[in-house]
Amino acid sequence: MKLFKYILSLNLLLIVFITLPAVGQSPDQILAKIDSVQNAFSDMSATEQMKLIDEENRVKKRVVEIKQKGKELRMVRFREPADVRGVGFLRLDSDRLYLYLPAFRKVRRIASLATNENFMGTDFTYEDMSQSVYADDYTARELSTQQGQYRLFLEPKPSADVNYHHLVILADTSNYVLRKVEFYDREEEKIKELTIDNIEKIDGYWMGKTMRMVSLDENHKTVLELSDIQFDQGLSDSEFSDRSLKRPIR
């Protein structure tokens, strides 16, 4: 009987935790969990297909190789179209961003002021591309839960060098996978919306394989499809250097 009571209370406890997962967690704790799911792997590489779709539904396609290690190191290199093959972008930390243009064999640092500019015609800014840990720059508040998703209002920390007034993010309550980010400008108007779909668990890590960023003002969107995703290959830091940025794409 005691055992039955124990099992019952355990089940009740589980039910409570499953159905009301936010209970006992602060918004910042949930944000930390979302960040940790995003950055759970030690490294990752993938091929990304980009589709840039303008207001008249003209589509431009790009194929890029992406690599990530830890929370900071990231590299993006273009494979297609042929005339920009080898163009690369390297992030060492939030202040150290580099660009490589193979035509001139030059790696150039990008000034942080330029981070609010769109990255290579996409709807992602350099800041969006390099944002990996939301908790570093934002404080979460106004938590709510709806349809199995957390909804967090992210307010920039006073020290954060970000270009948005605030973000609203949505993540699945079941696995803390980020599903949507809404970007608000300083007039507090929503200017962009990122949705993440096609969620799969690959090698034990949750990953959204399709990302769709829409610029609401311009009616322009960028759709990213990930493939050939590989985790924890033991990438070294030297893979994220200006030398490796210049390496020809095979």
Partner: protein
Amino acid sequence: MLRLADLIIRYRWWIIASTLLLTVILGWKTLSVSLNADFSTYLSQDDPAVQKYNRIGDIFGGNDLGVVLLNSDNEVFTQANLDLIGQLTEAYEEVEGISYVTSLSNVIDFRETEWGLEVGRLYGPDRVPSEDSALNKLQNYVLGNERYYGNLISEDSRTAAILLQFEGSGKAGSNQFNTSLRIKDVTNNVLDSADLESNSKLYFGGLPFLVYNMTLLISENLSTLIPIMIFLLVLVLYLGFRHWAGVVFPMIVVSVSVIWITGLMGTFGLEFDLLTGIMPVVLLALGSADGIHLMKRYYELRNEGNDSKQATRQTFKQMGTPIALTTITTTVGFASLFVSDFSVIKQFGLLTAVGVILALIVTLTLLPALLSFGIGFKPGTKNVKSEYHFLDRFGFRVYKHQKLILAGSLGIIVLAVIAIPKIEKDVDWSLCLARGSDPYHAEMMLREKFEGSLPVQVVVDGDIKDPAILQLMHRVERRLETIPEVGKPSSMGSVMAEINEVMNGRYQVPEKQQGVSNLWFLIEGEDQIERMVTPESDMGLVQAKMGTWHTGTLVTSVDSINRYLETLPEHLSAVNLHQLDPPKRQLVKQKQLQLAMQELRWYFSKEGISWKPDFMREVQDKLLNFTAGRSTRDSVLVQLNRYLASSQAEIVLENTERAQVLDRIAEDLPINNIQVTAREVSHMLESALLGLPEEDADWLAGSLANIINTTIGRARILPAIDLLSSLNPENDENFRENVKGILWNVNSNIAFLDSKMANKIFGDKHPAVIREVPVSIYQAGMPQVLKGMEEELVPTQIKSLLTALLFVLVLLAIIHKSTIVALIAIIPISLTILINFGVMGYLGIGLDSFTAMIASIAIGLGIDTDIHFISRYRDELIASGDKLQALQETIKTTGMSILINALAVGLGFLVLLFAGGQHIRRFGGLTSLTVLVSATLSLTLLAVLIIWLKPKYLVGHSTSDDIIETTKEKRHETI
């Protein structure tokens, strides 16, 4: 005619009621007539130049430029001003009808900072500098960039410009007048919450605002001046007739016809523009003339004792034909404006012609219907003719001084003919604005500080991402800068050069396609790029600004541009110098150098630096016969060593390996004027480092070849830059950058030559020609359209005048069955037109599309008086058989009507001399003069010619039975 008059009198209530009903219906329709101030719709849409202009506007989101100027007594670079520019820019971006906004706050900027490459904004909305040092730094940077000063900021940094690209008229809802209104509203909204410094003020300029202001000015003018014109008309009518009916009835006729034509405009969806806005005034003048003649005759008949119905019948019978005739001729005068290239002039001509016909219908239906009631007028027996003794004396003098009048007329002809060549063809359009007004001030500021606001557009069809075409576009920009009144060119050519300067330190379009693609990638998706090139990159624009609204200067500049564009190739050959034998390579190098020197010459011309041929030959020799000396070679090796030791080097080499590589390269370092290729360097690396994988060698070789070529290239042109800089006393950084960019082309391994020239040098299908690039370049902007119109102005004017005169001549000859009468009738008109042009010549009034219109109005107005005069004289001559008596009687009756009409209309138009814009003043003054001259000539020259030439028609030998019968009947009635 009598039967018709009887019908009108019988059904007069029906006529009055149906006129009233129609007036109410059409009056309601007038409410839907809106105002159109979109200049592009003023043009003839069938004109190929206009079609091209519209097409380019549709492709590039509009081609009319409006400019909002923030003018400060001090400096624009304050936090408040920059913040305001940012707020206005953001607000304008949301305005319907505006496709792009460019200002200091959102212009795309490329620069190298201590933090690295920056492709971004000068300052963001939340990054407005506040500290003086930061503001000064920004100011210095902006004033040092050719793309910003003269475009977005004046060189004295007291005026900032926000450029607004208005959507083309092709887009739905893109009425530029409404867009201009919205811009003003949005500006006021922003100013409600933002700070406009007390010493700052906003101005609005550029074509859309110019037309907007002109239209407003005309509306304002007319709303104040039309009542004064009406008052004068009423006054003159009253003084002429001394009876209220003489005032009210003609005014009713005119008002009804104006309401009808305006209502018809509403029915057919037509809009008022800056010309049709004047139409009611013109109709007021024209429509009242027939009414005056009719009323005058009616009074005469009443005074002769006829009752109202009888007087109406006879008035209708006697005046119906001349009035119908005058209407037809007036209609022809205005309809001749249909040949104009301006659709507004066409519309004005057509609507006025229809309006005149409507006025005739009303005059011949409503007026007799009203007169038949005989309201307020008692029949008398006094002879009204006897009241005007001064006209008797006048008639006598005309009769006695026939030769003097003829001689005087000849004298006037001579004087006018002398003056006609003096007519100014270089008309300044901005004089349409009231001098000293804010819009006028804005135009002057745009001219003086921003090199104008009228966009020059050169269209380039071809693969815009090809360096051959981009270099050509950059050359076109340089050439445009040398053309008088053309300034501030821009295109993807200079944008690529600017990014390349930030990336590689030279203001020049990269020679390789990959280089262009890489740089292009940095600015992909930017709004400001969409205005320069199509999304498919198959069409690009070279844009500049025309700093004049003087039509003559504009035509000269447009012609200069076209002449240059005609010299450009239709195909370019990209030639790889590595695949040429040394003599041919040297030949191509010479061609490259010639092109560079030509470009340099244009740049010097723009900078006002004198070109010294001997000096330039020295510079050319230095460039062509350059040999890399020891110091250059050492410099190359130092650069290579530094690179190989850096973290950027593609492969890590030990010190000994580095030394081996450098030794090997030193052996084969090129000393002549050809660049080394990556393949050549790769071979050097493989032979220096045995066992080095080919892949690694290739990888490293690209960077090393780049360093070698850059270092040697710099050494080649540096002495030339130093020499050339000595010619420029200011020797600023911009000068050196420009010179370096131009000269760097002589280092290039790929030359872009005219295919015809390339074929001549190499023959067909030479392997050195790596690709052929087709290109087509032509001008398509508003200046090109205006040029076409200006050139057509005189031929069109002549065509229009001759058509109208010929038509009137034939018509009169047929009606009167007398060529001589027809000729006599048009002589005073022709002289009136000559006097009009003569006055324009002496007073320095320019011939533009608007002043050119006055001649057609002169025909319309003048022929009326001539027909009435001739008809009456004929009647009087047949009646009395005495020329002097006939002349005196005619002058006392019809002559009096002509005088009343001329005074009423002439004084009315004279009021326009008090209008704000110079164009409307000139229009008013010249039309007034035309009316008065036309009346004077009818009463003098026409009279003399009739007496002198004695046409048979006038003495009753004509077979015009109707008129003879009319006369007989009249005499019988009088007896």
